[in-house]
Symmetry: C2
Subunit: 334 residues, 2 copies
């Protein structure tokens, strides 16, 4: 149906090789010949067949963007920002293939032929195997959002431990001493890091966390809600709660209101992620902002650098988080 370089060649009275060279702007071809060929190509509405190109050039023009899961546990905002960030970098140059790692029954089909490079937005330790598979196949790779120690892998992430530390320190500086923690989804590295940063802050300020002040969570609204209900039922309630993400913080705030109490007057809440709606909730949520879009941009940029210069750079890049102070934390009198 669609025109090929051979069709153009016939019309131009040259060989298809000449057409190929002309359209690739080879210096071997005379300028007027090129121009003549370009015009004919235009007229025929010629589009190169990328499958044929790929076959001979051994490039797919595909970039994989893999998430730990698409089905559950990935927050919508996170997902969106990551795709946006990557997309803004690659634009026309590559096609972006989005997949959930848990959709793969076998990594068999992930080959150097089908992906020029792969970006993994990793949220779980379980991603280890696929990372190794890709690294072994020699496919250029960057892992975002989670630290990874496989050799020869680019790694871009935010310093969440640091972010959680700041959030904890902030609570202490606002006069809080009875501070509780709602943890993130088990197995997610982010859950560990945020918890670790928070604990380091508490330790740093000499504040201990009683067992009753710790609740597990699943990163969703429901679990934040339940955890806060637990805290509220305690004899001695915390004055502040650090939630390992915003969604849980929302659930927690809801529980406070349901109990007839106020945030931040009766209890302060801090989140993590600075989700789009954090600013508009009542009260506006004090939270830690991860620069996800920036991480994805940075990651995509470095990956493309590696691909196009045939390098194998392998570094770990940590990007700063930022504490966004809003209205959900009360300043306590000493």
């Amino acid at each position: 149906m669609s025109a090929t370089i051979k069709d153009i060649a016939k019309l131009a009275g040259v060989s298809h090789t000449t057409v190929s060279r002309a359209l690739n702007n080879s210096p071997l071809i005379q300028e007027e010949t090129k121009e003549r060929i370009r015009i004919i190509a235009e007229q025929l509405d010629y589009t190169p067949n990328y499958n044929a190109k790929s076959l001979v050039l051994d490039r797919s023009y595909n970039l994989g963007l893999f998430f730990t899961t698409l089905s559950n546990g990935t927050s919508a905002g996170f997902f969106y920002e990551a795709i946006r960030g990557v997309n803004s970098v690659i634009r026309d140059r590559y096609q972006l293939i989005v997949k959930g790692i848990d959709d793969y029954t076998s990594f068999h089909s992930i080959t150097k032929k089908s992906f020029d490079g792969i970006i993994i937005v990793s949220q779980s330790d379980d991603d280890g195997p696929i990372i190794e598979h890709i690294a072994n196949k020699g496919i250029p790779l960057v892992v975002l959002n989670r630290p990874v120690d496989t050799a020869g892998v680019l790694n871009v992430l935010s310093d969440e431990e640091q972010g959680a530390f700041h959030a904890g320190a902030y609570l202490v500086n606002q006069g809080h001493k009875k501070i509780a923690l709602i943890e993130g989804r088990k197995g997610f590295k982010s859950a560990q890091n945020r918890k670790a940063g928070f604990e380091r802050a508490m330790e740093h300020y000499g504040i201990s966390i009683p067992a009753a002040f710790r609740m597990p969570g699943l990163y969703d609204l429901e679990s934040g809600h339940q955890a806060m209900q637990q805290f509220l039922s305690l004899e001695e309630r915390p004055t502040a709660v650090f939630c390992c993400n915003d969604e849980m913080a929302l659930g927690a705030i809801k529980a406070v209101f349901e109990a007839g109490l106020q945030v931040p007057k009766d209890i302060s809440v801090v989140g993590f992620d600075d989700t789009v709606f954090a600013a508009y909730v009542t009260p506006a949520l004090t939270t830690v902002r991860r620069p996800i879009e920036q991480i994805s941009k940075e990651g995509a940029l470095r990956l493309l650098g590696n691909i196009e210069n045939k390098l194998h750079t392998t570094e770990q890049v940590l990007l700063r988080t930022e504490l966004i102070v809003r209205e959900s934390v009360q300043l306590l009198q000493a």
Copy 2:
């Protein structure tokens, strides 16, 4: 580097044709031969080169998933649910290529060779040209989320007019008579439909909407916030506000609280979309649920049907919206 059918052929002592047939489970090949070849393929960790396959079979194994824009105006939850829905249907069979239509400088590269089918999640009338381009090229296509009249195009969407009608009717049935409207982003079909449904409800119940009770919006939190501030500054305030999406509803609620008033006691608010956080905001938001994930599933399913049976079905499928009653609407005494 990686093994090809020719490598397998040598080891098996057959021609590459036989290998090709065996691996495609052709009935022409003896069962034992097939088995022998399969084992060798397994040992060599053979993966078919999809570029070569595509070239000869004239199929790309690619499905395009195009959004009106990735940069702005698309809500994260919407985006996420759409990808999830489609992804759950296609699984291994196709690669999902995600793009923003506004990233295309030219549709030239969208050809039958590079996409087996395309799903457009359309949010704007501006998507007309690309829809026509794709339809002209004869690429199987389904347009989601927005009605489209181009011939030969599958179309799956929710009946938003109906949804908005119900929301409006509900407000009236709860005793409201002074009802205001915050509109959606101009140019988005959804904005028109929601407005139309709401207006039809008002008309149906013989309620008129004064000009001061209409405010434009941009589907974002900020614009909802501003619009509600306007309403609150009126001499005669509305008792209820219908917001064309949840994000604006959140902004509106925030404005109410800032003015020292309560939702729903002093003013009722209804949203549209049932975003993930709608249930956990305070007060929990009464809203209209669009079955986006279901729309995407349904759309993907029908598209695959068309592709694989070489059909050209062209229907418009309307999926029901659902009014989710929560806490943001007050029952007024007659």
